[in-house]
Symmetry: C4
Subunit: 373 residues, 4 copies
């Protein structure tokens, strides 16, 4: 671990983003058709290693079904518009039409509507009825309040996702969520994060989680860095957590915890690099919100965009031109890594001679900061 002296009184590691690295072909090649990009977590099989991020601009009940049928794992945000409103469709349309000057304030108002437990139940049952793997996400803050509703409604996978989730949260006001006990008592596998370092991830793994989301899961990286000074360059974060997975595998006598890159994964090239650094799958937000049939209607936002006191993200205009299917499975239309992203992953694996995602984690990479050249 290379530590750099920032000044006499402070040292820090050099950390790398996906833009800082690249994959290099260095051995045999292979036909793209003979490459598998399948992913299996717990009892659930997916044709593609893609989770849809629990954000209102990415996953609605409709796109959840669509993504599930295309082979991925959609996660519905159980604290979003779909559990606050019977029919949020007009509000989604309104958000897409807001003037930037008032967008934050109006979104704060829209999201001030309380969550309705009965809508949680209704949304999850609808997904079940549609035949896709059912996954819903809560923030750590609200998990204790709503988990029972979620479990009673029936989920296959339970996601706890916050900007930073630690195994040990300190709070004087309320009994904090004891992740270890919670996961132990729960019947369904839990995917939890974000975590951005070896230690944080190892602690999450020890809670019994089936998967760890790697990243600072909420709010655009850019604004998080500007407002909070916090930044976890993703290539380093994924590679760190992958090592925690390896060490925990040994420590636990064989529990394989999945590593899911959640953040900084905007193009097919980023997916390739996330796996190259050790990810088993990726959670996609903006990459899917770009779909012409995405609920955000060309816009994308996270919970930070409408935080009451400290809005740290922004509603971002994306302006894509391809459908969800074209984005995932092609055919490609632009050469910018935003369409046919699974085709690009297959080709990258074929060009470097790997046949499945797990094996591809070993591919050779170089550090070569990308300066837009």
């Amino acid at each position: 671990m290379t530590e750099i002296e920032i000044g006499r009184g402070k040292r820090g590691r050099r950390a790398y983003s996906f833009d800082d690295i690249a994959v290099v072909p260095s051995r045999r090649t292979r036909d793209p058709e003979e490459v598998s990009v399948a992913w299996q977590i717990d009892a659930y099989h997916f044709d593609i290693p893609v989770m849809g991020a629990p954000m209102d601009s990415v996953i609605s009940p409709d796109t959840a079904v669509a993504l599930g049928r295309l082979g991925g794992l959609p996660v519905l945000d159980l604290e979003g518009l779909w559990t606050r409103y019977d029919d949020p469709t007009p509000l989604l349309a309104e958000i897409a039409s807001l003037d930037p000057a008032v967008a934050t304030a109006r979104m704060q108002a829209i999201y001030a509507e309380p969550i309705k437990p009965e809508l949680i139940t209704e949304r999850l049952r609808a997904l079940r009825a549609a035949g896709v793997t059912v996954a819903g996400a809560l923030s750590p803050q609200r998990t204790q309040q709503y988990w029972k509703t979620v479990v009673d409604a029936g989920v296959d996978l339970f996601v706890i996702r916050g900007t930073t989730v630690s195994a040990e949260h300190v709070s004087g006001r309320a009994e904090p969520l004891n992740l270890t006990r919670f996961i132990y008592e729960l019947d369904v596998p839990v995917i939890v994060g974000g975590a951005a370092t070896y230690t944080a991830a190892l602690h999450l793994m020890r809670t019994g989680a089936a998967g760890v989301l790697v990243g600072f899961g909420g709010g655009a990286a850019h604004t998080t860095r500007t407002t909070l000074g916090i930044h976890a360059p993703m290539a380093s974060a994924v590679a760190d957590v992958a090592e925690a997975r390896r060490d925990y595998l040994d420590e636990s006598g064989g529990r394989y915890v999945h590593v899911i890159a959640d953040g900084g994964v905007g193009t097919s090239g980023d997916i390739v690099k996330a796996i190259a650094c050790g990810a088993d799958a990726v959670m996609l937000g903006a990459a899917l919100a770009r779909a012409t049939d995405a609920p955000g209607r060309g816009y994308h936002w996270g919970p930070e965009a409408h935080h009451q006191l400290l809005p740290r993200g922004e509603r971002i205009a994306l302006g894509g031109q391809a459908s969800l299917e074209e984005i995932l499975l092609g055919p490609g239309r632009q050469a910018d890594g935003t369409t046919n992203i699974m085709g690009a992953l297959r080709r990258a694996m074929a060009t470097t001679g790997y046949s499945d995602v797990k094996e591809f984690q070993r591919v050779e990479v170089v550090v070569a900061p990308y300066a837009g050249r």
Copy 2:
């Protein structure tokens, strides 16, 4: 200390700016409400670790009172317009309306007016009467001429601030300020700087200063680098001076000298990083000059902007839209690190699990140059 060979005949350390680093969450998390950002220096307590820079665009008698009431420590420039003119308000308005082509020349003329000792007395007494901690700043060049006026008027904290202040200034023309004797004889605690290296800061600490301003305190970093070739990347400078504090604490048998980052602190993210590198507090200029109620009326300038022979700074248009209170305590309006900066600091501390500023100096950081991505 990593030294790099620039060429065979010259070596230099690699130095880092705040943009080069970031904080990384790596352990427990905590509720933001349970975080303290209080700061105590000598007998004075502050709710927030923020000094208002002694610049006419930042601190007027009115904003001094406002900043004091919001919990910070305002420092009035005792060589600025308020000690040169009975009522500089029309001049502040004029400066804000100057055409860029003539701004430097006109500002040189405005600041050519002599300092009136009786105005120093009047301004400081007014602050005292308003009930806030009274702090005024002089440059090292004028400290000998006016310090008695200042002390007689009554100050709680005395600030000596110049581009670079050394414990040993060499001058053949006049008896230079002997900082050690001056501070020893003075009754009030002295905060002095800028200093940008371990050695320079250690020497300042040995003069008996209560606090050291870290930075090249005057003139925008950009223009200083272009005109003088001088640059002290702040992350390295703060970390260096923090180590000097540690060593001096030992050497002096327990004197804790406060380290105040003064320069390069433009956003809440920078405040987070300054403390992460070892700062006890920050001195804010542009960050506060952005306030709609700041005296600079949307403009910001330092003494270098109206230097008679070598103007090295420029009057900068800032164009903020939030009040001083919103900037410091929120609610946030933009996700750019310019509003609710104390809320952002709290959240960064909570996310990384620290409960007070001193403890947060130990947070983990990474080196990850920010390329605007």
Copy 3:
């Protein structure tokens, strides 16, 4: 070999592009007129170390003859328009006039026309009749199908060029090309690539190839990095493969395999650096497509631009103003490294005191990333 820890679970080498390095004069100087830039591969002598890339925007039968007469080695793409159409001239004109919005789709349609073996024969015989060295290129995928046609038509040099060509391609569908046996049985020298690492290149050398193309030979580097996450910084790639050449020279008891930089060579400065890193020659695409008499008529594209499912390159507008002769041999017109590129190579060699290309591979270089300053 410097390995960097990206994160705990992943290491990678730091790799450099041509933009990251520069040549430094450090010894004697020499008259440019006394410098030789000649290149000899197998029995074929060339006045300049330049191959024309097998791309429809670069090499047509006419420009092949022109380039050959100017001293270089043109390579005709045997899977391009000239072997699909009797007279592709109108199609080349159409491609140059396509609206960007429909360019990819129309090019996909144009290139859907099957290859005609009799046109391969006709094109190669015309080149032979013109008296230039005859070289044609196939992709690895089509080499088995067409190689006999090519050899029967008569070629001096056979080029197998794909994005990544490995000595061992794995395919379940068809018998993959066994390069070693193929080259052994063939009568003509084979140049094969791209390869981007020491190992990949060494394996290609062991197949008996006369030359190895270094690079990721197809598709713009920029889009390949974005879509596939793959990038092989050229300075490092060439220097790696040059070492493979040295090691194979020893291992084989004296077989000298030529190293040809293919990709990232856009200016005369890049040619200088490619040779400085160990290249024997360069393969030029865009640099020659810029010619006013180039077949692309101001546009440039590779096979990736019209890939059916995953278009990864784009038709690029180049807009040059010099003829092929001016580009190669001058006189220079612009100071941007796009004209008189052989004159620039001579001058760089003269300024650093080297008299031939092989010797110039030893020139001193520095690492100094170019930030557009």
Copy 4:
């Protein structure tokens, strides 16, 4: 000396430009008035360590006198317009008015006029008559042809300046200039360059030169890098040559050869850094061509701009607004390092506590690449 592995077959040093470094104050401070920026080479004393570059856009007979009176050392280009034409004033005006599209061609024509030895004599005698130190420059190619004319006309300092000048030039056509014999036989001190490395400079020092110009002295660095692939980052080059000076001082038993930074010195900050790296003086081109009274009338060009076959520089529009005197001695007008450059040097030296140029070569520097922040 840190060597980096570019690839397995090639290593190179990391080299730094002035933009990559900065000076850091780390000890005492000093009054700017008590700083000396004087420079003495051989018997000649100068108030400021500034040579005016022998370029038609910088030094005419008139500006030579002006620069000499302001304390610097002007060098007239003896191969420029003033030795080709009786009165080049109309041509200078024409060059300043040329359309960019035809500028190179027209300048090639203007400079095709032969050099008149009698004009060399006339120009140098006029300088002598004006009472300034007389210095003229020839290229290495023409030194043998014209040196006798120059010496007979009378010069105080003889400058031989080319893109790269080596102690050993190889030429089959003509007897190359034997620098050692030439300098030995000459009565006047010789300043020679450019040289960019330790070895090249050491060899030049051994020829008996009084000073070495450090840099790649001709053509903009940007275009040289693009066209020739050659680049000598100036901070490293100056620091290397300064070490050669130290070693040669020992080897020669006390001969101190002056190191003059020639290239990359565009602002006062660059001058500060050049001296910090070990330079005794700087040769200024563009920095002086910016003067409203410069002969280039707002334009600047080197001999490369009108090279017959390989134009590598360009006529650059500079657009300054200050006189030569304001540029050198102030008062400053802009905060961009282009005016009062000697005042800035004094202030940088005072801020860091140094009292003369030689001593300032020891100032502390940091490596902190400047990213426009």
